[in-house]
């Protein structure tokens, strides 16, 4: 943020899939976030602006947008870090259909999460004793490294492979699958393995690593996907996938 300039010029995407950027003047404030800027426009300049947010503190993952060409959580992005000469361009997340303005339709993202069998399948009942998992075991540590995803869609928006191939499950769904593959309590392994090794599966990843570069949680979905590739390869060669 330039301290001498009292105003920020903000270009916001207006429209749906087809639309244009519209510029607004927003007063600069100390410690202002990009979400503050969008909220200011909606409350004071144009109440028809559509955008999505909930917690404002980087917990819910609903306020992700494209800020100066890069997918980010707007609530955790300070204007001072991203404005260029007092200007910011804010658009909807890429690789997802735009509903209106800055709000995208997240259904394809979550549908792929389901296609990748991202739900935990219990192997025991409530009557069984709680399973003991060694915190230092390799599987637990691998699951741990992937588990903090809050499904904000930043990695999905940043992924070139998602952009090029609509069938690709994407980094978030595959990262989730990897955490379950390493969960010794889970009983959905065989079905999940077929899902992540099938059409649109982990083998489509080019390892460009945009997901880990942009992940606000500093997760590394590329590493998770590499783990899935190894696991899928072993399963294919051993005939596990044919069963």
């Amino acid at each position: 943020m330039s301290e001498t300039s009292p105003e920020l010029t903000v270009s916001l995407w207006r429209g749906a899939q087809q639309g244009r950027y519209v510029a607004y003047k927003v007063p600069m404030r100390a410690s202002q976030t990009v979400l503050d800027v969008v909220t200011f426009v909606q409350r004071h300049l144009d109440p028809t602006l559509a955008y999505r947010f909930a917690c404002r503190v980087g917990v819910c993952g609903s306020c992700a947008m494209t800020v100066n060409g890069r997918p980010r959580w707007t609530c955790r992005t300070h204007v001072s870090k991203v404005s260029k000469g007092g200007r910011i361009e804010i658009g909807p997340l890429e690789n997802l259909p735009v509903i209106k303005d800055l709000a995208t339709d997240m259904r394809p993202f979550f549908e792929k999460w389901q296609q990748a069998e991202g739900s935990f399948v219990p192997s025991k009942t409530r009557h069984d004793p709680i399973e003991t998992i060694a915190p230092g075991s390799a599987a637990r540590m691998a699951a741990d490294a992937a588990i903090e995803c809050i499904n904000c869609g930043v990695c999905y928006a940043a992924c070139d492979t998602v952009r090029w191939d609509a069938s690709y499950l994407g980094p978030a769904a595959l990262n989730r699958a990897w955490s379950l593959v390493n969960d010794q309590r889970d009983a959905g392994g065989a079905v999940r393995l077929r899902a992540i090794a099938g059409s649109g599966g982990c083998q489509l990843c080019h390892s460009h690593q945009s997901c880990q570069e942009y992940c606000p949680q500093s997760l590394n979905p590329t590493r998770s996907i590499a783990g899935l590739k190894r696991r899928a390869t072993r399963a294919y060669l051993s005939g596990e996938l044919k069963a």
């Binding site: 492979t161 090029w164 191939d165 090794a197 099938g198 059409s199 599966g201 083998q203 489509l204 590739k229 899928a232 390869t233 294919y236 060669l237 996938l241």
Partner: protein, 109 residues
């Protein structure tokens, strides 16, 4: 890309890695020793070793490139999987025929 194609592409890459190194070494050797075309043909003609070496190289390259081209077409062109598969199969066959023809030219007595 299906998992079998993914694995074939990795496998052919693994096969080609040492073959490329030997191929480059052969080029350096031949040029530094000043071997003539006749010298080279004298060593390759009738050689089962060079026929196997470059035959394997050509087969691996044709398969590897065809799978790669198929992926590029699926991701970057409006062709669907079916047409991309057809085009890349033809491309792979072309590479195979041209490559084997070149191998035959230097190894057949």
């Amino acid at each position: 890309m299906s998992l079998p194609l993914y694995l074939w592409q990795r496998l052919t890459a693994a096969v080609m890695a040492p073959l490329v190194l030997v191929h480059v070494a052969v080029i350096f050797y031949a040029s530094r020793k000043g071997l003539s075309a006749g010298d080279i043909l004298g060593r390759t003609r009738g050689s089962l070793m060079w026929a196997s070496f470059y035959g394997a190289f050509v087969a691996a390259a044709a398969l590897h490139a065809a799978i790669g081209v198929r992926n590029v077409l699926i991701e970057w062109s409006p062709l669907g999987e079916g047409r991309a598969g057809m085009f890349s199969t033809l491309f792979g066959l072309l590479l195979l025929v041209l490559g084997l023809r070149a191998v035959a030219a230097v190894v057949l007595p």
